[in-house]
Amino acid sequence: MLRYVVRRLLLIVPILFGLSILVFFWVRALPGSPISSLLGERATPQLVQQYRERYGFDEPVYKQYFKQLKSWGRADFGTSIATHRRISEEIKQRFPATLELAIAALIFAGGIGVPLGFFAAKKHGRLFDHASLFLSLIGISIPVFFLAIILKYIFAVRLGWLPTVGRISVLIETKHPTNFYVLDAIIERDWNALWDVIKHLILPAVALGSIPLAIITRITRAAVLDVQNEDYVRTARAKGLPPLTVDRRHVLRNALLPISTIIGLQTGLLLSGAVLTETVFAYPGIGSWLRDAIFNRDYPVIQGGILFVALVFVLVNLIVDISYAIINPRIRYS
């Protein structure tokens, strides 16, 4: 097991190296540059040339890449051209926000998706089953940004039940020792702040979790349908075990493997896919930060941000793989 983990960790190096090449050249293939974004109407040819020299954009691209690679090798992601802030500082501040949102979305998706899929399978072919399939189809089909806008319009703008932007109301004074606001509020025993943070999480989490919810529902339904026709389930029923015990011990537990796989994969996607949701809700996480950087052609932020998200994605997948062995003792890594 340990050898497997070490091997997987070592594999991260070539993955990030390959990605660094892709990202570096992709960013430069985008139309525009940070200079045109910074200068706007003031972009005279002389000024553009001055800025190109200052940022080293006048050098051959491969030289720029190796320079950048050296910085990354020192774990130095650089500085944002637009905001002048250190990228590592920005990540430290923003990643907890994205992680908190992803966890909330996952709780929403898993908490509703697993029971929904389970009951759909139990009511196979009936109205509940068809309705859950229909709902999951809608969940997959509606673009996240569209759902986010609709949810925001109905529940925040029209009904005024929930806030429209941010992580916490600006009038609430509380400390943020960890930058995980839910955790911070609990640590500080500030229940007013906790409630406020949860309110700010509801709409983004529902919007972000809609697609995972649909996928988890479908996978759970399929897994439960598969498992409940297995011989050992029929045997358990034949032995006269109560239906709830059969479902809990034999059906759900065995169906958990594909469900955990998909939840793991969705976690990675949630962490990297919050760009649109965070933008709609002005949620100060990695997603909205990357969106602004792409808009401003802020090369260091785009590169550093994407590499960081990729690293998180790879690590989450590794954790998922390891969790297989815990969930299913039949799996052994060697």
């Binding site: 525009g32 974004s37 080293g56 905001t83 002048h84 429209t164 932007v165 941010g166 600006v170 002005a282």
Partner: protein
Amino acid sequence: MRRITLKFGLVVAGGAILLATLGLGGASTARPTLVYGGSADPTYLDPALVSDGESFRVAEATMEGLVFLKPGTTKVKPRLALRWKQSGKGKIWTFWLRRGVKFHDGTPFNASAVCFNFNRWYNWTGPFQDASATFYYQAIYYGFKHNDVAGLGTPLYRSCSARGPYKVIIRLRRQSGTFFPSLVVSSFAMQSPKALKQYDADKGELVNGTFVSKGSYAFSHPTGTGPFKFKSWTVGQKVELVRNGDYWGNKAKIDRLIIRPIGTSTGRLQALQNGEVNAYDLAAPQDAATIRANSKLKVITRPPFNVAYVTIHQGAGSPMNDIKVRQAVAYGLNKQAVVSQFYFGVGKVAQEFIPPSLPGWSDKVEKYPYNPTKARQLLNSSSCHVPCKVDFWYPTGISRPYMPDPARNFQAFSASLEASGFQVTPHSAPWRPTYVAKVNEGSAGDLNLIGWSGDYGDPDNFVGTFFKSPNPQFNFQNPAIFNLLTRAANEPNYAKRVKLYRQANIAIMKYLPAVPYAHSLSLLGAEKRVHNLIATPTGGTWFQYATVG
């Protein structure tokens, strides 16, 4: 049993959702606090190191310069300096300072503090000489005591000396018309020498070409003399300011001012509708109707401080070398129709290149109302007979404050030019990366759509930028205009300067190197219970007199 459990679970879940939704409005209740929606975080809180509006917004509330623009206007008025005098042919400026003013850290504001600030700027070295650090200082003062960076000029500033605690003399190396009006820019606000030293304001480095401040002053200790004091800055969340109870002038009417960054105008509008902000800046013109339709909200307008214009590019073999063709263009552009239809009620037809609020604006310039018949007559008597072929460029993928919908502007202008005897060949390019570069290097056809938003309240920032010297964008040679604008820029006498700019505007509109067509107001959205919130033409907001409720 299972059914009961399921039902119980559903009831609990339903109850939780109901609880989670009832009475959850994002609206704030504590007052008097004003929550204001900006578009982004500040870059730094040391205004000497920034050039962006969001940083200036905080600085304008917490810091003050020797002079300032009267709220809502571009008239220069005394602030920390009570009066001033120039001598030595405009190279010596004497300021008499206000007494009894204290910085937020309790240290006194006096002549030595003024000199400390001027000398701080002048003595910057290394990374501080990068344009990403000191854009406005370089724009006005050209250079430092020791220039470390190529391309910097001879500094305008020579020295500063205190004559007693409340009189200060600033010596310049040459005459300058921009020195005095530029003192209103927040970059030249007075900051506490003690705090600047204590919190390492002058520590910084260049990281991959970008200036990075290393001291804590620019992040958490900005110290000025303004009506609000800095309290905290949580990046991505808010900048919090509190009322300065020791302020020398009219004290602020609110206890707290919170500026929160919301990146999109839709997001800011919705936050206002939901009561999460009391007011917000940079409202999209198309949202004005939505705001006005809400009985609890109102629109506040910011006087225009920009200009949209059609570049006329002259050059070898160009039909635009002929003044009659340029006049035909000016008469052939239906400016009123474009402003009426595509500016959502916030545009005004421009008759010259500087906004009416600036000194030097003249009503005596040549005007060119839409007149296709006259345009055709001019063309037929010119070197480019009807149909006169022109290449006309417009940008895509952009909306600017002075030009909300470039494509529609272009379509309307194209149609009116066609009706005036021109044969228009349309060209477009994405704003980034090509369009602006093409316009500036002079390769965007005979005509193109572009504009300008002012940086500070001085006409040189408009006409001086465009027409003071040969510019490839317009590619014309007119020594009379160049000379007039150079004289105006260097003229230290205010009245004479204004006169020179009036003359320059008249000359420019006669010569027609381009055709200005619109000034656009910018908008703020606010709750109706917010009063006396004043939007300044230069992009700032005056919070000192604002009340809520």
